[in-house]
């Protein structure tokens, strides 16, 4: 894997994780514990992506591996969101949307970093 891009992606994921956790603490201190949980969930998704990136680094085709995994993992969340919406479970649906938004953000960042030729 391209070391420069790998490092940039790794740094991005670590920074996003940290910023979500910091935001969680701020929200909790402000008496908004549930919204703090949303940030924790976001941080977990960045953590998952970090683990996938690490695993991708050991693959023959790391870029494809990362992209494929980052499509496969959120597919289960998508299904869970559909079920929650079908059953009118607004709480569960919101939590699944948060995970999917974070996954989309990660895919966008990956595309940006990997297309960067500089």
């Amino acid at each position: 894997m391209d070391r420069r891009k790998y490092t940039a992606m790794k740094r991005y994921l670590a920074e996003r994780q940290q910023s979500c956790l910091a935001h969680q603490e701020t929200l909790q201190a402000d008496g908004r514990a549930d919204e703090g949980v949303f940030e924790r969930i976001r941080a977990n998704v960045f953590g998952v992506a970090e683990a996938v990136l690490k695993a991708a680094d050991a693959q023959k085709e790391p870029e494809q591996f990362f992209r494929m995994r980052m499509e496969q993992i959120p597919a289960a969340w998508e299904k869970s969101l559909e079920q929650a919406q079908f059953h009118g479970d607004a709480v569960k649906a919101h939590l699944e949307k948060i995970k999917l938004e974070a996954a989309e953000e990660i895919r966008t960042a990956f595309d940006r970093i990997w297309s960067d030729e500089a």
Partner: protein
């Protein structure tokens, strides 16, 4: 208000955003987007909090021509704290509440959106699940085996095992005419 209702309400109130939503609704009924704009939150976040408040009995919703409006359940907030503290909790009632909670926990673990994820191995848990399935049958009606299978299949594909378990647990009885719920 029972102890459990009071706990659910107080837990729900212990959140700044939810408290602000209630303060807004105390002024007037509002729809999600208006609350979101007023409180600087996203609409999905407001919906999330409103759902929790509704579950705790703090707000209710009603539909108008264009919007779903949310209103404060004023009667809940008219309850005096001292009345809640003075309300006696019977041991039997507490036990019943514990049983109800345990039962709900088992059901939440095994039945997701109306489908049984797996048949519980523990007899006590299996009985709870079977009792829940029994609620889909009408009391006093005699069902053919095919009808019984179809109803159980809505919950789990292994309807044969579950049907036999319902008989062995004496939740249902059968003879040559068919199957029926056991009279309590």
């Amino acid at each position: 208000m029972t102890d459990m209702e009071a706990i659910a309400l107080f837990k729900c109130l212990a959140d700044k955003s939810r408290l602000h939503i209630l303060k807004s609704l105390a002024a007037e009924d509002m729809y999600v987007e208006r609350l979101a704009e007023r409180l600087g939150l996203t609409a999905p976040t407001v919906s999330f909090h409103l759902k929790k408040l509704a579950e705790a009995g703090a707000v209710r919703s009603y539909k108008t021509q264009y919007y779903t409006m949310y209103a404060l359940c004023s009667d809940v907030f008219m309850t005096r704290m001292i009345d809640i503290l003075r309300e006696e909790s019977e041991e039997a009632e507490q036990q019943e509440q514990r049983d109800r909670q345990y039962r709900q926990k088992v059901l939440d673990s095994f039945i997701v959106y109306g489908r049984l994820k797996s048949i519980p191995a523990q007899r006590k848990k299996k009985r709870i699940v079977l009792e829940e399935i029994c609620r889909s049958f009408q009391k006093g009606r005699i069902y053919t085996e095919k009808e019984v299978n179809l109803i159980i299949a809505d919950f789990h594909d292994d309807f044969c095992t579950l049907r036999r378990d319902m008989i062995s647990e004496r939740l249902m009885e059968r003879d040559q005419r068919g199957y029926w719920l056991t009279e309590e």
